[in-house]
């Protein structure tokens, strides 16, 4: 039997970080149903997985593999250990064993990742494939959802995906790799099209046939398109509904590991070479184009720092984070910060900058437009969870955001403040006045129907839901910043 190893957990992932309500919950993960060889569930804020007899045998083999140990220690695979089911009080039923995984601080989905994040997740997947193959194992599927983030570091979470490689078996997950990693990346790189709505719109990704329809004749000359898109679409069409068992025929003809290794190697080169097109977005240069003078920006930063320093926060959100200047301040006093912005290039900047900083472990950048945030969806509308279902913040930054919420997105001010209050979070929130040039730009070409957009109404609403602890005028009174705690 395996020696139980102590789980190495980040400070932000230990159970003591959880609220009492979360600790008491015992629940099955609704999204964990596709593979009958395992099932994820949560108890006391810990993450467990039941294993079938077959999955247990695979796990025991995987645990001994040197590549697995090395990748686990690097954090590229989630730390996992076998638990004593009896001691934990688990009724195994038809299951053979249970393992425990280190907890991921905040779950995110590929339709919330920037290009660089999806690309790095794809490269991690291919690297794990390469290492598994050299140990005569394989990843049996290629779901992009099997990769999660700890800060800006990707980690693979689906342990039962590792299986021994059967003689003559093709790479079963190849098609899925294309649908959930390669095609979305190609869409952004070759067509300048945002892949996130495509991934959010279909849980299984982009099928070859649809991807083929999006490619022009010229695109066929681009790296990887002829084979991975055109040929795959044509072959799938030719064989759809066919009864031929190609798998057996391939095995018989001597299909071997070398072919998969070559495919993985070429895919790695292909993915590594993909660069996003259409990289000029509205906010990508915010750091250089924002409307603050140096001294005023410093005052704003000091205010946020003082507010953040009032205590240690378990989870902070930075809404409309832009390139993350204030996320970094919040991170000084938070276990974990989820930084969200609707502009993917701003998030890409933040991601690349944090990635270059080897000490960065606390900031998770996500592409999220608050007015059209990720919903609960998939099987039972619960397979993928809405942003608010994945952990509520204790501190929320809403800096230079409110005018976009009320004027650009037409969300009533009272509704927005009420929503923030329903999260049970404290807030650092900035009101941008009507005389501010940013607000005037927004109002330039639309009817001013925003009767609620006034500093007095804002303050009234804020104090109705929160306790205002500090406030300060900024930009000569054109803006006003508040620190308010949850009631």
């Amino acid at each position: 039997m395996n020696e139980p190893r102590l789980l190495k957990t980040e400070p932000s992932t230990v159970a003591s970080d959880l609220t009492d309500m979360e600790r008491a919950l015992v629940e099955r993960e609704v999204g964990s149903y596709r593979d009958r060889n395992g099932s994820v569930f949560y108890r006391d804020g810990r993450v467990f997985r039941y294993l079938s007899p077959r999955a247990l045998a695979n796990w025991q083999r995987l645990e001994r593999a040197p590549f697995f140990k090395a990748m686990s220690e690097k954090g590229a695979i989630v730390e996992t250990r076998t638990v004593d089911a009896q001691q934990e009080g688990f009724d195994l039923g038809r299951w053979a064993a249970a393992v425990e995984h280190a907890r991921i601080p905040f779950i995110s989905y590929p339709y919330e990742w920037s290009f660089g994040m999806l690309k790095d997740a794809a490269l991690l997947h291919l690297e794990l494939m390469r290492q598994a193959l050299s140990a005569d194992m394989i990843l049996k599927d290629s779901s992009a959802y099997n990769i999660q983030w700890r800060g800006v570091n990707p980690t693979f979470i689906d342990i039962p995906s590792f299986e021994p490689l059967q003689q003559g078996e093709p790479w079963v997950g190849y098609r899925q790799f294309c649908e959930l990693f390669l095609y979305p990346l190609m869409l952004q790189a070759y067509k300048g099209v945002d892949y996130r709505p495509w991934l959010r719109g279909r849980i299984d990704g982009i099928p070859a046939e649809e991807m083929r329809a999006l490619m022009s004749s010229r695109d066929l000359l681009r790296p990887g398109v002829l084979l991975h898109v055109a040929a795959q679409a044509a072959l799938q069409k030719r064989y759809s509904g066919g009864k031929q068992n190609v798998r057996g025929a391939l095995a018989e003809a001597g299909f071997g590991k070398a072919l998969i290794e070559r495919n993985v190697e070429k895919l790695t080169r292909l993915v590594a070479g993909l660069k996003p097109a259409n990289t000029k977005t509205t906010w990508a240069d915010y750091d250089r184009t924002h409307s603050y003078q140096e001294a005023e920006l410093k005052r704003k930063m000091e205010f946020v720092r003082r507010a953040a320093a009032t205590r240690q926060w378990r989870l902070a959100w930075d809404l409309g984070c832009n390139t993350g200047t204030f996320s970094r301040i919040a991170a000084e006093h938070s276990n974990y910060v989820v930084s969200m912005d609707g502009d993917w290039m701003a998030i890409e900047h933040l991601y690349q900058r944090e990635k270059a900083d080897s000490t960065s472990t606390k900031i998770l950048p996500l592409v999220i437009n608050l007015a059209d945030a990720s919903p609960s969806q998939g099987w039972r509308c619960a397979e993928r969870k809405a942003i608010t279902e994945r952990g509520k913040p204790e501190l929320t930054l809403c800096l230079a955001l409110i005018h976009h919420i009320v004027i650009s997105a037409n969300i009533p001010l009272a509704d927005f403040i009420g929503w923030l209050a329903s999260l049970g979070t404290s807030v650092v929130i900035e009101f941008v006045g009507r005389d501010d040039e940013m607000v005037q730009t927004l109002l330039a070409n639309r009817e001013d129907q925003y009767d609620d957009y006034h500093p007095e109404i804002f303050r009234e609403l804020l104090s109705a839901h929160f306790d205002i602890q500090a406030e300060e005028p900024l930009k000569g009174g054109k803006r006003h910043i508040y620190f308010a705690t949850a009631r």
């Binding site: 039997m1 596709r34 593979d35 009958r36 007899p53 077959r54 247990l56 045998a57 025991q60 053979a96 064993a97 049996k140 599927d141 059967q166 078996e169 093709p170 790479w171 079963v172 997950g173 190849y174 098609r175 899925q176 070859a208 004749s217 066929l220 000359l221 002829l226 084979l227 055109a230 040929a231 795959q232 679409a233 044509a234 072959l235 799938q236 069409k237 030719r238 064989y239 759809s240 066919g242 009864k243 031929q244 068992n245 190609v246 798998r247 057996g248 025929a249 391939l250 095995a251 018989e252 003809a253 001597g254 299909f255 071997g256 070398a258 072919l259 998969i260 070559r262 495919n263 070429k266």
Partner: protein, 87 residues
């Protein structure tokens, strides 16, 4: 247009390899996609060419009656009792 024609033609040529093949499969919860599996021969480079050659040879022998359709290979099952004993 020529390019489109070529792009459509070569997977078709490749697909000829697999007309009539039939053997048993292995287990996996994910559908690998028949077309996607066939493509992997092509993606395998030189090693793939050898396999394509073998598949052609097999078809040729079957066609001229020297060889019959491939027998069903025995699938290797996981040794479940051993695993249970290990608990």
């Amino acid at each position: 247009m020529q390019l489109k024609f070529a792009a459509g033609l070569f997977p078709l040529t490749l697909s000829l390899l697999f007309v009539g093949v039939s053997t048993s499969g292995a287990h996996a919860y994910l559908d690998a996609g028949t077309g996607s599996m066939i493509l992997q021969v092509l993606l395998g480079g030189i090693a793939g060419l050898a396999i394509a050659g073998k598949l052609y040879w097999h078809r040729f022998l079957t066609a001229i009656g020297i060889r019959r359709e491939a027998p069903q290979p025995v699938e290797k099952e996981e040794s479940l009792p051993e695993v249970r004993a290990d608990r």
